[in-house]
Subunit: 266 residues, 4 copies
Amino acid sequence: MSEYSGKRVVGGFDASKQVVVFAGPCAIESEEQFEQVCACVASLGLHWVRGGAFKPRTNPHSFQGLGLRGLQIMNRVANKHRLLTLSEVIDAEHIDVVDEYSDGLQIGARNMTNYSLLKTIGEKTAQTKKLVFFKRGMAATVSEWLSAAEYITSSGNDNVVLCERGLRTFETATRYTLDISAVPVVQKQSVLPICVDVSHPAGQADLVPALACAALASGADAIMIEVHPHPQTALSDGPQQLNLEQFASLIGRLRTLAAAMGKEIV
Amino acid sequence: MSEYSGKRVVGGFDASKQVVVFAGPCAIESEEQFEQVCACVASLGLHWVRGGAFKPRTNPHSFQGLGLRGLQIMNRVANKHRLLTLSEVIDAEHIDVVDEYSDGLQIGARNMTNYSLLKTIGEKTAQTKKLVFFKRGMAATVSEWLSAAEYITSSGNDNVVLCERGLRTFETATRYTLDISAVPVVQKQSVLPICVDVSHPAGQADLVPALACAALASGADAIMIEVHPHPQTALSDGPQQLNLEQFASLIGRLRTLAAAMGKEIV
Amino acid sequence: MSEYSGKRVVGGFDASKQVVVFAGPCAIESEEQFEQVCACVASLGLHWVRGGAFKPRTNPHSFQGLGLRGLQIMNRVANKHRLLTLSEVIDAEHIDVVDEYSDGLQIGARNMTNYSLLKTIGEKTAQTKKLVFFKRGMAATVSEWLSAAEYITSSGNDNVVLCERGLRTFETATRYTLDISAVPVVQKQSVLPICVDVSHPAGQADLVPALACAALASGADAIMIEVHPHPQTALSDGPQQLNLEQFASLIGRLRTLAAAMGKEIV
Amino acid sequence: MSEYSGKRVVGGFDASKQVVVFAGPCAIESEEQFEQVCACVASLGLHWVRGGAFKPRTNPHSFQGLGLRGLQIMNRVANKHRLLTLSEVIDAEHIDVVDEYSDGLQIGARNMTNYSLLKTIGEKTAQTKKLVFFKRGMAATVSEWLSAAEYITSSGNDNVVLCERGLRTFETATRYTLDISAVPVVQKQSVLPICVDVSHPAGQADLVPALACAALASGADAIMIEVHPHPQTALSDGPQQLNLEQFASLIGRLRTLAAAMGKEIV
């Protein structure tokens, strides 16, 4: 719907007609938890699942993820459901293992200016052209974000999806302030597709549906949504994750809106 | 579409089914200019037109509006087209004249903390219950904004429409950062309806359609859009105003989206 | 000490040699309270006392000040101690009464963009050239603030003292983020003197001394400090007000620093 | 002078009596450039010199530093002048080489949330207890910054100096908004000493002296100042670097202020 949309591809899908939803729990916690999420995601006809194995936490004493074991769970369960996988790299030493077990590598907001990591990931995926999912820093301008993305693309991989995830502002009613304007701004200034993570800025599950619908209508090329079988017992970011019913209901609403835009949710 | 929408009324319309568009130029500049806008707005089946007669400008040497003459033009031309009118009050001494000539009184972002003005407007409209359109300050939290609105409602008029218009942040790609999350947050915390002004945060016309669609999809109860017959020669805020064709095209897109949401644009 | 300091005058004092401290309680609460403050301020050899009679409060149900009675207390007690007085105008209708009872008129941060109020105050004091103490809005750039000040100066009174009082940011350890850089920036760009209000940004009394010393050393032409005989029972902003002993001790520290800078505290 | 100063040590000096100045160019550019800086710094009786060998740049096409050769120049020239050295690590793979050639390791603002780097540096310096100079992220709260510092200290090295370097805000008159309040806030909440980098927030050399004096007077335990023999031809951050005369003059002013505070500049 954007005035600026050229030919954008997200995870194998043509963004002019298809909007990819990257869904999954904040962190992979157990085989059972991830199985429930994958079953739900696959049953809704979606194709990508996300899950964190290495978690960069503000407090060094918080849960830091299952690591390699988490990646193995993700890989095994997603394969069973024929889903593609996305997981975050927080450290150069984990690039190879994340690369081995997942179909896309996420770079988190806290690492947007870790230029050394960006370059290494760009180089390591230069041959495979594997999807690099690149989040905006919480205090980065769009211009700085696009410059940082060049550390990846100029290393040889331009299969980069940008992801807006909210800015740090004075407002405390939400966890971050979602910069919805970043969608048309990026589409005007860059050829890279743009995703909107609607869970982190919301910080509370009940705000997520409104933000997801807004992201879709703004012309976003993809949407990231956190979903967990039992958010109230999640080991990280529980309050912002949808449960399975809420997620299924939201996908229904998004499908209706997308149809009105001549697009489909995949 | 929101989880929280109770019974909200905006300018005489039921927000659960109808989304009011407040359209018009930043400033009323001449009878001819306003006639062209009203003809366009009315022909599209919309009901409200906005226009500034008194303009609060950062620089004391900028164009300050036509004043009383502007209000008279607005009133005469809008009546001819059977449109309702909204205009800003920037000063206690102009309340009576704006009240006389228009159907709604706008309080701008720069006056959100001018509590004395809020109270006086609340008192002066306590009998008529005329629409008070109350913009959020560019550095106000939702909580402070809702507290400020009580200066109006507790003075006797609760026909208040809140209007989100963008926050001041570090991002310079847009004029302000539209806080789209304010829509579900306000609907969760308040009974007052919420409008989104999509022109001021955009700052550029080509970003406006994406923001307007996002606002609608987020569940906003109303949308404000600036439109001008010749934006390139506008006396204020030219770059962010749509021309008549762009506006008509956007209304078409909004109608399609609204239909998918079970709503209509009025 | 600044590279840019020209001939600046603050409340009758030559800012190149003398730094005025504007001290006093947030709000005038009683004759006894104000007497204790004035006795302390006068005994320390200071010349200006501040006190709020009309209080602009975020919440309409909070204490709104003693109004006219507060001004009369301030005037009577300050005269007895031969102190000059500063009080805030929050409304055009109170300009005359504040003008009658005080030696300086303060315009608060929440009214920085109430251009109508600025112009009226400029006009009403054009003859007397009474001190206008003009606070920066919490989300205003220095450039916007200087433009707004022209609403006053171009109305005929250039006896304006600018006052930095902290910006709204994401940091919550302080009430506002004091923009200390505004001191040299203003001194480079304007001929108007600049004061720093160190109490509002701090939000807590124990941070005030460090900020006051920083303000002085940065080259500020004046400093505003809130002091109250019993901060713990203050009707507004208690946590950020110094008690009398803390205030006297701070003035001592400022005197030592000022001496090293070739200045005196008045 | 702070209410909260306990026993803090900065680079071998007792912060209750001595304020360390970390001075030097943004980037080490040549032996000649660094020689001029060291000669100046040593002649003023200072003890620490800083210089960047690996430069994290927003734009991947900008000058990225001399790397190892830069470190060798720094080491050789500083030794000759008996100065201690501080240089930034931007990447885990460079920790060893920076550790070999310098007396302190700096972690830049862009890496504050690169927790993996913090942990590795903490572990690698656990035996030597070498100085780790830890800058605050431009959008980090003090609380998040102190949590991040625990990634270093809990890995075994608590010889950490925190460094405030300005926040990202809407103000554009300066490069960043120096949060001077962070000095007393950190001294109240942490046992770690706090330095203020006055060059990055200023962004222009002529604002640096006012900020340096403010930092000292606020009670900062150390001050970082960029100095370059020929700022107008510097390969990075030229506008904010002082030339040698400006630097010497500023040290003189700081000495006078420090004396009034019972401290000395080292």
